[in-house]
């Protein structure tokens, strides 16, 4: 619209509906998801250079792979985190680490990933490149390849910048049996390090709840920790779980319910760093319910628990590993906390997310 007093109106070519392609673009457009020339250009300029591998470069509808012998582990997860960039990672690295970890928690050696992107129109291509580069680095660290993928674009306002789905394949060696149902009374519960770091790091950047100290997410691939534990414990390693959404409390509740056992945690033994403690006290959060993205829980036969503990502590990601509890018979299906003042209480499943409170 022109203001009659100010002279000719400013011209904004991005609002034109002329069908001629505009050449170089710096933001994602709907056409990028359309399967045509712009999609192709996007794949060639962003995805292929990052995820260099023969399967992907074949650019087939699907990747055909040869797998080593063993049972196949298969998992999928979608990532919708906001903000998409945070201290210690981004939605891309999270998407790789998260799916690698789900495979590792099955006792599998992670091998290949798919990556599906749903991008909101208008996302700067520079942001996409940054996310994809981050995924490539994470994949390389974890020793996996991204062998197939897909890109769709939704209209502005119909997506939250970017969503990513990663599915993963791995192979479980013969003789390894990791499953919640294997938890036995007497088993010991271990955690690979300090809890609640990721959730608090995310809160520290979200609007309205800012802290003056930067907190860095613990997002990381755990396949090496898992490998180290399997090496020393073999079939005495009964359960593995990465306590993501809902924290340690939710993960252990699920395991207790699934195995029909009770798990009792020793409050004094649970590693919580000062930064997380300060943030949780301030917001009224219980660290047991806050998400982790680079921590592993293991339930191990008592004969081999110390071996796993030592193996983890030798690894950079496991320096603060600790034995935090024990599996019991009763109360069946429940998680119990032996509090630091010597009483016992139930640690229930959370309903909804924790919200900062003043009460």
């Amino acid at each position: 619209m022109t203001d009659p007093k100010s002279g000719p109106a400013a011209v904004d070519p991005s609002q034109w509906s002329c069908p001629a392609p505009t050449g170089a673009v710096d933001a994602i457009q709907v056409a990028h998801g359309g399967g045509g020339r712009m999609s192709q250009r996007l794949t060639e300029s962003v995805f292929l250079p990052a995820f260099r591998n023969p399967a992907l470069e074949a650019l087939h509808d699907g990747a055909v792979l040869s797998l080593p012998p063993g049972r196949v582990a298969f998992t999928t997860d979608s990532y919708v985190i906001h903000p998409i960039f945070f201290p210690g990672g981004d939605i891309g690295s999270l998407a790789v680490h998260g799916t690698v970890n789900d495979l590792a928690m099955c006792g599998a050696r992670p091998l290949h990933l798919s990556a599906g992107f749903i991008i909101e129109e208008g996302l700067p291509i520079a942001d996409l490149k940054r996310i994809v580069a981050s995924m490539a680095r994470a994949a390389e660290q974890a020793g996996v390849t991204v062998v197939t993928g897909d890109t769709k674009v939704v209209d502005r306002g119909k997506g939250d910048q970017i969503f990513i789905n990663t599915a993963g394949i791995g192979v479980v060696p013969e003789g390894i049996e990791i499953s919640p149902s294997r938890a036995r009374p007497g088993d010991l519960v271990l955690v690979s390090g300090e809890i609640a770091v990721h959730g608090i790091a995310i809160l520290s950047v979200r609007q309205g709840l800012q802290f003056e100290t930067e907190m860095v997410s613990d997002s990381a691939s755990l396949h090496e920790l898992v490998g180290a534990a399997l090496d020393v414990a073999g079939t005495h390693l009964h359960v593995l779980r990465d306590p993501t959404r809902g924290g340690v409390a939710s993960a252990l509740n699920e395991i207790a319910a699934s195995a029909g056992v009770s798990i009792e945690l020793e409050e004094r033994s649970i590693p919580v760093n000062e930064t997380v403690q300060g943030a949780c006290e301030l917001l009224g959060f219980d660290p047991l319910y806050v998400a982790n993205e680079g921590k592993c829980l293991a339930i191990v036969a008592p004969s081999h628990a110390n071996a796993v503990l030592e193996a983890w502590r030798r690894h950079p990601l496991g320096r603060a590993a600790a034995i935090i509890g024990q599996v019991r018979e009763e109360p069946r299906g429940r998680l119990v906390l032996h509090t630091r003042i010597g009483a016992r209480r139930i640690v229930d499943m959370l309903s909804g997310e924790q919200l900062p409170r003043i009460c």
Binding site: I341, R344, G352, L355
Partner: protein, 362 residues
Amino acid sequence: MRFVDEYRDGEAVRRAAAAIASVQTRPWTLMEICGGQTHSILKFGLDQLLPDQLTLVHGPGCPVCVTPLELIDQAVEIAARREVIFTSFGDMLRVPGSSKSLLQVKAEGGDVRVVYSPLDAVKLAEENPMRQVVFFAVGFETTAPANAMAVWRAHELGLANFTILCSHVLVPPAIDAILGAPDCRIQGFLAAGHVCTVEGTGDYEPLARKYHVPIVVTGFEPVDLMTGILMCVEALEKGEAKVGNAYKRSAHATGNPAARALVRRMFKTCDRAWRGIGVIPLSGLELRDEFKAFDAARRFDSSRIRTVEPKECIAGEILLGHKRPSQCPAFGSQCTPEHPLGAPMVSAEGACAAYHAYRRTA
């Protein structure tokens, strides 16, 4: 963390528990007034360490639980308006109104945001001059200074787009109502440490005298709660009805003069309805006339709201300590944290929520 960890020391707690057991010769029933204290007791399992003949009743010290249904409905109505950014402490988001909670309004597209401090809401108003920012000012005397400062700041900045929906409640009138009820079994009170930090202890002297009941200002950590209980039991054993202070590191008899002054500058007392209990005279705060422009109830017309209380919810009896949550027929069945019928099941401090989370079997 200093001044936190040492008050959670198991040895100190055990010593205090032993002292209580050795001093107590008869059954006593105490009420802890503050939801934060209830939460702490159940989270650490403190009541398991107390002698059997000591009964702790959980009082209505949860501003979330006592906020009247009409006000929740008003909040829901305002929050749904397109021009409004509705801000609130996290506690209030899940409380069910007659038809929905603020969290549901958010899910349906309302701009509902959790803030840690009312100053965050004022900042939002500064940054969004084209929107109306409303802050849900809920709380006891502890939070009144913060809300007073927020309105003061908005006033000084000349903000035309900031209002508060006020549901402030005061503790001493509630204690008066509880102790004045005919079937009251409460023999001693643990007063709220942070309410007294702000207001001081002056209001409690007349109550202690009138009802011949010891009132002890108590903190929130396990050691604080134990020493408060110990002081209260000692007073009961001696037949003394005084105001004691077991939280001297924070609360003083005169409170915080600067905070009290600002609260009185911005607010005046008024009658207030407590959900489940009814109207307690002069138990609330409202903005003074010269600051009424910052009152959301005045700026937004909510006269068309119809409020409907769920029949099954016995929140009033729970809040007054007449019944335990486990005695409510709907507890754990129709009324759970996932689909709460009333506020005490929603709030982290609510007796029902705390029971459900920590002690479902009891």
